[in-house]
Structure formats: C-alpha cells, structure tokens
Amino acid sequence: MKTATAAMTANSSAPIISVRGVNKTYAGGFQALKKIDLDIKRGEIFALLGPNGAGKTTLISLICGIVKATSGTIIADGHDIMQDYRAARATIGLVPQELHTDAFESVWATVKFSRGLFGKAPDAAYLEKVLRDLSLWDKRNAKIMTLSGGMKRRVLIAKALAHEPTILFLDEPSAGVDVELRHDMWRMVRTLRAQGTTIILTTHYIEEAEDMADRIGVISKGELIVVEDKAVLMRKLGKKQLTLTLRRPMTGIPAGLSAWPLVLSDDGHVLVYSFDAQEEETGIAELLRTLAEHGIEFKDLRSRESSLEDIFVSLVHRPKGTQE
C-alpha cells in the first residue's frame, strides 16, 4: 500500500485527485451525487460549474472529509481520504462558500490556528507572506467581526493557505466580492498555480471559469454531465451566430429562406443565423447570396461565438442522454 502510494505521488502524470464511483445520499433520502467519476490533473485549475443545488458543494465536502460518501473511493495526492485521512487532508486547503469565521478572533490568531490544526510547525514568516499577499497584513490584529465581507473572504483564503496545501478548493470564492478583490484573488490563484498548487473552484460567474480554468466540469442534478478541456469544450459545443441588422424591417421570413435556421426579431429589424463553429462550410456566403436574391438588404452584420455561459445553459437544460 505504502509503495503504491509513494509511486502515485512521485508520478506527476497521475491525477492528484481521483474520485471513483462516488454516491451520496443524505439521511433524508435525497441523493445529492450519483456515481461520480472524476480525475483532477496535478497543477491544473479545474472549474466545477452547475446550477444551485446541483451537488458542487457536496462533492467538495466529500473530498475534504466534511461529508461522508455513501459509497465509492476518493484518493487525494495518493492517499485514500478515509484510510489515510491525515496525509490526504494535510494536502488540502478549503475556502468554504459561506463566510464562516471566528468573529472574536484576530486575523493573526485565526491563521495561526489553522496552520497548527493542520499539523504544521509555526512559521511566522510564511504566515506574514500569506497575509501580505492578500492585503491583510495591516489588519492582522483586527478582530474578524470588524472586517468587511470581502476582507472576511480574504481571511478564509489565508486560513486555507496557512498550512501550504498542494490542493486548494475555492467554493464560490467570488460570491459577494467586489471587483478589486476578485481581480486580486484571481491574480493570486494564477500565482499559486504557477507554484504548482492544483486549484478546484466552483463559480457562478461563468466568465471567470472561461477566463481562469484549464478544464471544466459541469454537474447537474448530482450527475457529472461533462468534463472537458475548456478549449475543446468551447470548440465542440460552441455555436456561432451571425446577426444581420436589416435596412427595412420584415414581417416574416420569406418562404424561399425557410430552409435556413433563421430567427427574426419581434420588430423585424434583426435576423439571426446560427451555425456550427466546427463546420468547414459555414453557409454564410450562400446565405448572403440568397438574401440578395430575395432583395433583402442589411446595414450591419456581426458574428459572435457562444460563450461558456451559453454552452453551460444548453448542457444543463439538454434532455438527459443527448450529451456526448
């Protein structure tokens, strides 16, 4: 067992987190997760997306040891999270979604507590660096209850980093956080990744996942419906749209154009043509020719690639069994 563990840890291509056949049914009978299989690659930023109640936080809580799985196994950095919980948990830092803090403690005391709790010898210099990186150093002696929501979020991040984890979970880190802090936070996440930390985040701001993540997992109703490299996902599921602003409004789409997937705006001024971004032949040239033949003139045209948000919405609302 030990040899296998050591070999896995040493092998950098092995997943840093491996979730196999994990189910979670709560005492009330609610099945929060259904047979989850997921590998997180070492050193990546993995974004877990999903609507509220999809099971994102439950999955994170299972890996971190806060919630017990009904069945299945989870390996974190080569250690089974149940059998070898000490080694597994020592590698993980968690920033929870809710602002759970010790209101009466000072910032310094709380990060010192976190470091000790995770079994690390005191290291004032390291903690000072963490607090400085998060712009918390000036507030080190302040009681947490006196801090703003954004500052409390920073404190939670500092606590999660206090024991130098190799895996960092950020559960909705930008919820209720102002723009400046969000930028600071993402800058810090990139720095941590550059230092070799694996980061798993959940977010409602899909543009953040689009901006930050290497890979994306989408979870819906307790099932992991897609796990894909972000670029591949966007290429594979992305649609493009050509929007034409018409010179003269139309009352309906002419019969000769009925074969085209066109949508006319309510006021008849805008015509939208959707096409598959992957296709070699987009059909744009043919469409423009056909429009000219029908005497339809336009004063503006623009094309747009679907965002991750569009992809996410289409994935989550797609009928079961139709995804790849």
């Binding site: 010790d102 470091r115 709790l117």
Partner: protein, 253 residues
C-alpha cells in the same frame, strides 16, 4: 499524533477563556462569596458541627464541586457548540486531526479552566472560613478527575445541542439539582433512611463525598467507591464520544 493540532485547539480555547477572564472569574467568585455569607456565616452560625467540622468548612468541598461541575460542562459544551453554530466546524472536520486529538484539545482546555476556577474558589473560601486539607494529593486528583470527566460530559452536550437553549437545559435541569441533592450542603446521614438509599443513585454524591474526604477525612460513602464511580462515568463519556466521532452523529453528514 498531531501535536500541533492539539496545541492549536487548546490555545484557541484558552484564548477564548482569557478574553472573557473578568466575567469568568467575577461571577463564580461572587456567587461563592454569597454562599459563604449566607450558608457559612448567617445560617452556619446556628448549625452544629458535622463530624467535628464546622458547617462553614463542611460546605467548601461541595461548593467547589458545584462550580467545577457547572464550569466544566459549560466550558466544554460552549467550546464545541460555538464552531457548530458559527459554521467554523468545517475546518475541524477537514483537518488531519483524530477524534481523540480534538477531545484532548477541547476537554483539556475546558478542564484547565475549571480547575483554575476551583482553586480560585478554594482561595476565596479561605477568606471566610479556616480549613485544612488532609489529603492534598487526593484533593488535586479528585479535582482533575472530576474536571476532565464533566468537561467530557459537557463536550457531549455541546455535540448534541442544536440551540443555545439546549446547551443550558442539562446543566440547569439535571446537574444543578443533582449537585444540590448530592450532599453539597449536608451529610447524607442527615436525610431520612429512605432518602439515604435513594440519594445513592445520584452520581454527584460520590464526587462530593470523595472530595470532602480529601479535605477532612470524612465521607458519606467509601472513597474507593467514589473513585470507581468517577472513573466509570469518565469511561462512559469517552466511549460515547468515540461512538459520536465514529458514526459522525450530529457532526458529519
């Protein structure tokens, strides 16, 4: 063994104690002083000696036990209930600490605080009543054993409670009456014969009797039985906490 983890929990809890040191000390010391004035001086002056011990001195071990039990339970129950209530328990549950290490940290800190308070009350009592301690080593042993046992009991209450009201229920409705009826202010010889038998079902009788023996060499029940009963309660609490952590009852879904 995660020594740093135990130290972190212990220091965290002790820091909480010292933050509220003034309230923690003043209230029990004031209450105890009132007991000495009312029972020791006003009423005690009209009472005869019990087994050659003045009434004022007789109630000292009982009063210390009363405070020790209440403080141990409230410190430990509050200590573990707070993170549950504030949600910060997520950190404890995700940390590489075993249930036993968590226990040493929380129960150790709660017991430390109540022992400190017990000694403080003994000091306060000295102002009002002269007394001797016949078996000081046993006195300290009883003090420690009771503090640890009832801190464990408090820890269990803190795990079980899901509201601040529930946190108060057991100490107010069970522990305080048992302490008052456990011979804190009287010797069980003074009770009618039937009540002498019934009172033996009260575990606090054994604690107070043993503790009083360490002061004056007088006891309602055999000292060995007192020690045995306290250990028995300690083991019961330990087994229960072990079961709680093993099954995740009320803490890990």
């Amino acid at each position: 063994m995660n020594i740093y983890g135990i130290r972190a929990i212990y220091h965290f809890e002790m820091a909480r104690t010292f933050r509220t040191l003034w309230e923690s000390i003043v209230a029990p010391v004031l209450t105890t002083s009132l007991y000495f004035i009312v029972f020791g001086k006003a009423i005690g002056s009209r009472m005869g000696d019990i087994d050659n011990v003045s009434y004022g001195a007789f109630i000292i071990p009982g009063l210390v036990m009363l405070n020790l039990l209440n403080e141990s339970i409230s410190n430990a129950s509050f200590g573990i209930y707070m993170p549950k209530w504030a949600g910060t328990i997520y950190e404890l549950l995700s940390a590489p600490v075993s249930w036993f290490e968590v226990l040493i940290g929380y129960v150790g800190a709660a017991a430390t605080k109540s022992v400190m308070l017990g000694l403080l009350i003994l000091g306060t009592a000295r102002i009002f009543v002269p007394y001797e301690i016949a078996h000081p080593v046993w006195m300290v042993a009883f003090l420690l054993l009771t503090a640890v046992t009832f801190s464990l009991f408090g820890f269990i209450i803190g795990l079980w409670a899901d509201s601040f009201q529930k946190l108060q229920v057991v100490p107010m409705l069970i522990v305080t009456p048992l302490t008052f009826l456990g011979g804190a202010f009287y010797s069980i010889d003074m009770l009618p014969p039937l009540w002498q038998k019934i009172t033996l079902f009260n575990p606090v009788v054994y604690l107070i009797s043993g503790f009083r023996w360490s002061f004056y060499g007088i006891a309602d029940v055999d000292v060995a039985v007192s020690i045995g009963m306290t250990f028995g309660f300690l083991m019961t609490c330990l087994i229960f906490v072990w079961w709680v952590f093993k099954t995740g009852y009320k803490i890990r879904h």
